[in-house]
């Protein structure tokens, strides 16, 4: 038994992100503390695209913020490349649902900010900013303020800002949740296109089952109150196939995950599953 375990440890590549028995107590300014996460463990491989799927209130964003180092892990441990997470750092870039662009900076200014903080020389960072503006299709809007852009353009700017300083890990917190359905679809394929060009480890939080199955290699389904990882499902499909949404295997995978999430959504609403 011990020998088998050793063998598998040798064979598997060491995980880039290790979440080990993490619990998190959310203490609102008023009212009782809530157990947002309970003994969550998760391993994410280098350059893997993993989705955290679950109903709102299941703690999936909390888990993302813990990995980002924005919230302190009180119980359990989180390691990135073997080092315990002690705070936010430029090895982990984040994209938020509501974009979190600096409203007083232009598209260019927003993208330059991370490069300035990394101490990149002026000429190099100017060039890099333009490259990423082009990558996300915002050429011509370099000097626009976020308030002058549509939701989809803002999110593309936010993605460019995060990709530009080249984090190894991309944390995405329902990044397309605030967009209309058409824009969301376009952004999903655009994200995949960008991801294939600049492969990174991605942790993608969503409550949209189809989005999770389409984008991710693996989907971690989370349960609500307290937040736990219920199961992890493999969802590798050929992302370059434009008709992948209609493939039988894909549709079945979406149904399978829907069933898993539905119970949790009902529980989160306070309804007992039939």
């Amino acid at each position: 038994m011990a020998a088998v375990r050793d063998a598998s440890a040798v064979m598997a590549a060491p995980a880039q992100i290790v979440v080990d028995g993490v619990s998190h107590l959310y203490r609102p300014p008023r009212g009782r503390a809530v157990l947002a996460l309970e003994r969550v463990s998760l391993e994410v491989q280098n350059r893997e695209f993993i989705a955290l799927l679950g109903p709102s209130g299941c703690g999936k964003s909390t888990l993302l913020y813990l990995i980002g180092g924005f919230l302190p892990a009180e119980t359990g441990a989180i390691r990135v490349d073997g080092n315990p997470v002690a705070g936010p750092g430029p090895d982990r870039g984040i994209v938020f649902q509501h974009f979190a662009l600096f409203p007083w900076k232009t598209v260019r200014g927003n993208i330059l900010y991370g490069l300035e903080r990394q101490g990149m020389p002026r000429e190099e960072r100017e060039k890099r900013a333009l490259d990423f503006i082009e990558l996300v299709g915002l050429s011509g809007f370099e000097d626009s303020f976020p308030s002058q852009l549509s939701g989809g353009m803002r999110q593309r700017c936010a993605i460019a800002r995060t990709l530009a300083f080249d984090p190894k890990i991309l944390l995405m917190d329902e990044p397309f949740g605030a967009l209309d359905a058409q824009t969301r679809g376009l952004m999903q394929s655009e994200l995949l296109r960008i991801w294939q060009r600049t492969p990174k480890t991605v942790i993608f939080v969503t409550h949209d089952v189809q989005e999770a199955v389409y984008l991710a290699d693996r989907v971690a389904v989370m349960s609500a109150r307290p937040g736990r990882i219920k199961t992890i499902v493999d969802t590798k499909f050929d992302k370059t196939d434009p008709h992948v949404h209609k493939a039988k295997a894909f549709v079945e995978k979406v149904d399978e995950l829907w069933d898993l999430v539905k119970d949790e959504a009902l529980k989160a609403q306070g309804v007992r599953a039939p």
Binding site: P88, G89, H98, A100, W104, Y113
Partner: protein
């Protein structure tokens, strides 16, 4: 053209003033005709009284206001982001805020005498808190996601404070500065009226005491115009600074 129409009531008021005084509907001591006031204003300008007193007043106002903005903004942001500062200072701010600052005129005179110092101190004390409160509220409303974004891009806490919290606080802080600007004129003139050897307030007081009412009115109108102009200029600057808000 629109601007001209907008200020038409002002012109009507001026005409009514001139006519009321010319036809002696009111006592010309209480209200000298506007044309006399304008003549007196030109005389004051020619003999240099208006300019020398005006410059000394503006120096006091802007020195006091500048200090108030610098200290007030720093205080507000530190209070918003460092709890001990908030615990220590917010009771003082709450107590001191409603105090009519003109009550401090004699106090500042005892401390710093009849010259510039006491006026600058008074304006500083009177104008600081609106800026502090604006900066405090603005800084408290800075978005968590912006703070986190800056931190994840490699900004340390101090850097984040400067790059995210200060600009987030800017709109509310600039509102506080506008209030402070108006207050600075009020405190300036009232303190100079009471104890001063120079300045707009001193000039108004001494001209009134001599019975040169047309000249006195000329100075009052000058102060009114300067206050109005300062506010307009300030609004233009604010609009430029906050162009990103659309």
């Amino acid at each position: 053209m629109k601007q001209v129409v907008r200020y038409l009531p002002l012109l009507l008021l001026a005409i009514a003033w001139e006519l009321a005084a010319r036809f002696e509907l009111v006592s010309t001591t209480a209200l000298p005709p506007l044309s006399d006031v304008i003549r007196a204003w030109i005389d004051l300008l020619k003999d240099g009284d208006l300019v020398s007193n005006g410059l000394s007043s503006l120096y006091r106002a802007f020195a006091g206001l500048g200090l108030a903005i610098l200290v007030g903004a720093t205080l507000g942001i530190v209070m918003a982001w460092w709890k001990p500062a908030n615990v220590l200072l917010s009771p003082l701010v709450e107590m001191f805020y409603p105090l009519p600052k003109s009550a401090l005129i004699p106090v500042t005179v005892i401390w710093l005498g009849y010259g510039d110092g006491s006026k600058i101190l008074l304006i500083f004390l009177g104008c600081m808190l609106p800026v502090t409160i604006g900066a405090f509220n603005g800084a408290r409303s800075s978005e968590q996601a912006l703070v986190w974004s800056a931190r994840s891009m490699g900004a340390n806490r101090l850097r984040m404070l400067w790059d995210v919290v200060v600009p987030s606080a800017m709109p509310e802080m600039l509102n506080g500065v506008r209030t402070a600007l108006a207050l600075s004129f009020i405190l300036l003139v009232s303190s100079e009226l009471i104890v001063a050897q120079k300045g707009f307030g001193y000039l108004i007081g001494s001209l009134g005491a001599n019975g040169s009412y047309d000249a006195m009115y000329a100075v009052v109108l000058t102060v009114a115009f300067l206050g109005f102009a300062a506010d307009r200029i300030y609004l233009v600057i604010t609009k430029r600074t906050l162009a990103w808000r659309e």
